[in-house]
Amino acid sequence: MQWGSLTEFWAMGGYGLYVWTSFGASALCMVWEVLAVWRRHAAAASRDVS
């Protein structure tokens, strides 16, 4: 464990902005994709029944 405190972890040795943007954007894209597929399936299935 190399992080003394939570602020140190967030700072990422001064590169926090870059690191957290990368990981944040990736997480956002993947979550968004899952939601989009989920909604697409729901929409397709509901129209299928009607």
């Binding site: 990981f23 894209c29 994709e33 397709a44 299928d48």
Partner: protein, 253 residues
Amino acid sequence: MSFTGINWFKYSSPQAFHPLAGRMIPWFSAAALVLIGVGLYIGFFVAPTDFQQGDAYRIIFVHVPAAWMSMFLYVIMAAWAGLGLGLNARPSFMMAQAIAPTGAMFTFLALLTGSMWGKPTWGAWWVWDARLTSELILLFQYIGIILLRASIDDLRRADRASAVFALVGVVNVPIIYFSVRWWNTLHQGASVSMTASPKMAATMVTAMLVMTLGFWMYSIAVTLARMRCVIVERERQPAWGKNASIQEVAEAR
């Protein structure tokens, strides 16, 4: 046509594949969550700080897996497309259709995280490096395939036309990679090399590989889920309805 006791061809029909995919998705999703969790833990808490790049290097734990996935997925998509063209198999085309958006997303992420890594390391958001350029062209090809499919109303033509373009693109990307490398040796100005990466600690490699595996599982889960959407959506097509003539159904297959 049985193969080690199991009738694999049974699952090549969309109606049989739909429930099978439904059973498989939770397992792959769980595997993805666990692997990405473990990968992030190793990446952030076990892997040491790089003495040259500081903590900015940790971006590679998402950048490299995303870049690898973007290329793997393209090759797999093209393989399904080729199989579809060769065997005239509709499910193969549907697989290719299901893979494309995920591949495009990973390509976009690879470019975004690449520039996030490039800014602190090289001092520039974008460099005309061979890998970055071919990744950009890969994104254009993904978008081209998705748009080509979207602008053709006839499903059979949409399947086949996008398959042909996917296959042409497989030849194009390596050519672009090597041509940009060659081009860079000519223009010595921007001689930032991405290949001269510092030696990586074993834990760094482990984190990267675990993350890649996690992304694989994620891709499989999302692709299967999208495949289910595609199956349901296509069942609503006229050729699949109960009133369709035999000839129409035969054509659709």
